[in-house]
Every structure is written in structure tokens, then in C-alpha cells.
């Protein structure tokens, strides 16, 4: 179960297949900052949000 432990915690002996996929797919990792300029502050946003989206809870 060594490979499962590495898959689960990223510790211990790395599983070759998992490590290979990590190295390949790391290039797709999300690194963008939040585009704050487009975002209102939470309080002003709430009062301005007259048309609620589908998700509320």
C-alpha cells in the first residue's frame, strides 16, 4: 500500500506512476491571482446584487 500512502499524503516512498503524472500535469496548475479590480467589496456587492444567482445556500 506504499503507492496509496503517497497518493493520499504525498509522503513516504513515491509511487512511480503518481510521480510521473504529477510532473506532467503540474504545468496545468492554477496560478492566477484574483482579479480584484473587477470585484466589488462584499458589502457593496451584496446591496447591489438585485438579481440573485441560482446558488444561495
Amino acid at each position: 500500500m506504499t503507492d496509496d500512502e503517497y497518493l493520499w499524503t504525498r509522503t513516504g516512498v513515491p509511487d512511480d506512476a503518481v510521480r510521473e503524472l504529477e510532473c506532467l500535469l503540474e504545468r496545468y496548475r492554477y496560478r492566477e491571482p484574483f482579479r480584484e479590480a473587477a470585484a466589488p467589496t462584499p458589502r457593496s456587492a451584496e446591496s447591489a446584487d438585485a438579481a440573485p444567482d441560482r446558488e444561495s445556500e
Binding site: 497518493l7 504525498r10 500535469l25 496548475r29 492554477y30 470585484a39 462584499p42 458589502r43 444561495s56
Partner: protein, 180 residues
Amino acid sequence: MSSLEHVVDTGALVRAAQGGDRAAFGELYALYAGMVHSIALARLGADDAADVVQEAFLRALRQLRRLRDVNAFGGWLAAIARNVIRDVQRLGCRRADADVEPAHRDTQHEDMQARTALRAIRALPAVYREPLLMRLVEGMTGPEIAHRTGLTPGSVRVNLHRGMKLLRRRLEAAGTRRRP
């Protein structure tokens, strides 16, 4: 950002952000952007997935004060992300080949292998796709995935294990990875 997982009180961050604390919302973004990105990347190309993250957080910011259970933030945000994805798919304005150009180009051969692996993950059953992308693309551990998604550690562990097993088998069958 992952190392903060077990010392950050997400509920406290959500409450602070609901009160207008922009830094708290920034911390929530740092903690949860990878989760949202994985949900989007499971269904869309890389450029569209990045746009979904921004739009999901904008919607979350607008609706944050309506969230009553602050400890349910992860699941609530994931639901918003899935709505954004549905909107993108419905509008039909997807950039279909966006993932052909990964963020960091190495060799052409590695790019091709990366695309093949990403497509193989997208072809897996839905229950495996998101946790595998969170693990293999975003570098989250299993406990972090469980904490952020609100799923039980047991179910995340089973889905990671079974998903990886299936992915390994398919990549070997496709000849893109040698058998151990």
C-alpha cells in the same frame, strides 16, 4: 497555500469576509482556487477553466453574505463553480483547444504526454475526475481535498485509489505508460 490547511479556520475566514474583510476573502481564494480549478478542468479546456475560477469567485463574493453555514463554504463554492461551468457549456463559447497550450512548455513530447494524461482523466467516471485533478494537478493531499470539498476522508481516499488504478490501467493500455 496547502500547508496552511490544518491551521486555518475556514469558518472564521468566511465570517470575516462576510463582514467586508477583503484580505480574508483573499485567503479563501488562495485556499480554494485549486479546488474550483480542478472542478472546471475536469470539464473544460485550460483557458476556460481559468475563467471559471475567476467568475465563480466573483459570484461567491457577491453572494457571500447569504451563506448561513460558514463551514459549508467549500461545497457551496463548488456548486457555484458547477453553475458557471453549465453557463459556459450552454453558451457554447468554449475554447476547445485551450489545453493544447499548457502554461509551461517543456519538450513537445512531454506536452503530448501531459495532454494525453489530462484527456485520460477527463474520460474517467465523474466521481474520480475531480479528486484526481486536485491531487495530480493542484498538488493537494487527500486530507486537504476532503477538508475543502466537505467530503469524508474515507470517500476521497477510495475515489483517489480507484481512480488512480483505473487511470494507470488505461494509460498502460494506450501504451503511454509502461507496465511496472
